[in-house]
């Protein structure tokens, strides 16, 4: 009996590992679900730099800028499975939030990013006009201009532009696999009120995408170290490297190459 239990434990160990590795192999088999060539703007180094004290592994963080998700309104949240009625039930004297596992569409350097740049440019125009009228200060104008420069050269161009419960259906809507990646994400919804006497509204946002970090295999460490002698970029410095990231059948990514950027 003892020997049977020990062998069962070992068999469980092997079976689980086999299952995990088989899943990895299946994910990476066939044509990639998406191929994005991201840069240091979208793939951030660990804040310690490539060589951390106690951790010799390197993972790059998938960065996203702060973005408003106006399209994630009550109707869309309801389609994602959120119980809007329960959220608005403030008669119970409690606010609450809800979470859902969803699929999100990441767009890389596409119309959404251009829209952000255009909106920021518009804010600069408004700020300058306000400066002439005495409504804004020179600091505010400069801040807006710096923000635009950051968006153009340093900030991530990965934006979430859509969400749904069916990954295949989202891929049909966004067929360009070089610009759009479908990823797992968590959406959250809660209630808020913009002003005191305004009715309660439901707002949603994406709290996390999977994976938040992408492991960098050892064969790329030397190249990355050479390209990033300093820990991180400062201010609006341009990115120093690009990385080709493939997304597989299970929508799990991996890095296939690191290249310098001029």
């Amino acid at each position: 009996m003892k020997r049977l239990l020990i062998l069962s434990a070992l068999a469980l160990l092997m079976a689980v590992n086999a299952l995990v590795l088989a899943g990895v192999a299946w994910n990476r088999s066939g044509e990639p679900e998406a191929v994005l060539v991201l840069t240091e703007r979208e793939l951030r180094l660990p804040w310690h730099g490539i060589r951390q004290g106690e951790n010799s592994g390197v993972s790059l963080t998938l960065a996203r800028p702060d973005q408003s998700l106006d399209w994630l309104d009550e109707t869309r949240l309801a389609s994602l499975g959120f119980n809007i009625e329960r959220l608005l039930n403030v008669a119970l004297g409690r606010g609450e939030s809800q979470e859902r596992d969803i699929w999100a569409v990441l767009e890389f350097d596409g119309p959404a990013h251009q829209q952000r740049l255009a909106e920021q440019a518009e804010r600069i125009v408004m700020a300058r006009a306000g400066l002439e009228e005495g409504r804004t200060s020179p600091v505010q104008v400069q801040s807006a201009e710096t923000a635009l420069e950051r968006m153009q050269t340093a900030d991530s161009r990965l934006l979430i532009i859509d969400a749904g419960l069916d990954a295949a259906e989202l891929r049909q809507r966004y067929p360009d696999r070089g610009q759009y990646a479908i990823v797992r994400a968590q959406a959250r919804a809660n209630i808020w009120r913009s002003e005191r006497d305004v009715p309660l509204q439901v707002r949603g946002w994406i709290t996390r995408i999977e994976p938040g970090q992408i492991h960098l295999p050892r064969q790329f460490h030397a190249a990355l170290e050479e390209l990033t002698p300093e820990r991180s970029r400062h201010g609006v410095e341009p990115p120093r490297f690009s990385a080709e990231v493939h997304f597989g059948r299970r929508y799990e990514p991996w890095v296939v190459g690191i290249s310098p950027l001029e």
Binding site: K2, L5, I6, S8, V20, V24, S56, D101, E252
Partner: protein, 363 residues
């Protein structure tokens, strides 16, 4: 009585039974000495020698077969060994984690994967080797815990290396692995570690079915409460294999349940129930009092000190947190602590009454 029938009860079911028998033999010797000193009973030499020879054979047999504790010094040393085994397991597990994090970035992926899979296999082999050579199983327990750590590291690191979407299923694998090792060698600490993993799996699964991100199961303590209740169930049935494990299922599962109820009794907003937070807190406070009283009653009725102690502890916790809620803000502090002290005296009187009524039932 024939010699065969007189030795009918000499074969204990395991180390626990053997230790209990050794303790009874020691108590018998002390009581016999007291009776002789008080002139109540005097054994003749022949009876004394027969008893001494019989007990001597038993003690030798149990010491050889089960490595039981003979005397208070042995017991203290055994407790020290158990503590050392636990601390050793925790420290070695931490060393293993940090060591792998230190070196894994220097290794190619195939080597990383190989090391991660081989490490728990080696640890299980080492535990099996140790189990063949020791009767007390302290080293076996340490190595089995290390094997579990290696398995945790195995799946965690594979997830990081290949950017696998995390899920709660890993907790199930770890829990089953620990359970198999625990049952193989009768290791209570390893079983407890396995139950911790299973509570994590069940809680996360209940949360995920409700639509939340699995890792956020703690935001709704009812997820953990349900898991604790499920874990405790096997403890109320007869166990043919490893009967000593029943108490662990019972006590650990109920501990998890009571902690969840205690949290909900003060944090009604976290409940799934669609009621006002104050009403939810009232419901869980009532459930806490009633549940702990029920567990105390069960502990007395079934003669299970673990249940009695658990129920008593949480009854007092619920009582004192309620007293704090009611009176801390508006009573003078000296009066508040006086009332707390008086409540403790009242509880002492009640428990003394229960104890003496238990003696009367036994006499």
């Amino acid at each position: 009585m024939s010699q065969a029938s007189s030795h009918r009860n000499d074969a204990p079911g395991g180390r626990t039974d053997a230790q209990a028998r050794i303790d009874r033999i020691a108590a018998f010797g002390d009581e016999l000495q007291a009776l002789e000193q008080n002139g109540v009973l005097t054994l003749d030499d022949q009876d004394r020698q027969r008893i001494a020879a019989y007990h001597g054979r038993l003690i030798d047999q149990f010491r050889t077969r089960f490595d039981v504790d003979i005397g208070a010094d042995h017991k203290r040393l055994s407790l020290g060994m158990r503590l050392a085994s636990l601390i050793g397991a925790l420290a070695l597990s931490a060393a293993l984690f940090f060591f792998f994090y230190r070196i894994w970035g220097l290794l190619a992926t195939p080597l990383q994967v190989s090391m991660l899979i081989i490490a728990p296999v080696i640890a299980v082999g080492a535990a099996a080797w140790a189990a063949e050579r020791e009767r007390t199983l302290y080293f076996t327990s340490l190595l089995a815990l290390l094997a579990l750590t290696c398995f945790v590291l195995n799946l965690s690191m594979l997830g990081q290396i290949f950017n696998i979407t995390p899920s709660q299923n890993a907790f199930l694998a770890w829990g089953l692995f620990a359970g198999l090792l625990a049952y193989a060698w009768g290791l209570k600490l390893v079983l407890t570690a396995g139950l911790v993993c299973l509570v994590g799996y069940l809680s996360a699964s209940v949360g995920a079915w409700g639509g939340m991100y699995w890792l956020h199961f703690g935001q709704r303590p009812e997820n953990v409460l349900i898991a604790g209740a499920l874990i405790s169930l096997p403890g109320f049935f007869v166990h043919r294999v490893r009967p000593e494990f029943a108490a662990i299922y019972r006590n650990f599962g109920l501990l998890v349940v009571f902690i969840s109820v205690l949290i909900l009794a003060h944090w009604g907003r976290a409940s799934y129930l669609q009621l006002s937070p104050s009403l939810i807190e009232g419901i869980y406070q009532t459930a806490g009092f009633a549940g702990s009283a029920l567990v105390i009653w069960l502990g007395i009725r079934q003669a299970r000190p673990g249940l009695f102690n658990l129920g008593s502890t949480f009854f007092i916790l619920f009582l004192y947190t309620k007293v704090f809620d009611w009176w801390w803000d508006w009573l003078p502090k000296w009066l508040f602590f006086l009332i707390v002290g008086l409540i403790a005296l009242a509880l002492l009187a009640v428990m003394a009454k229960l104890r003496s009524s238990g003696k009367a039932m036994g006499s």
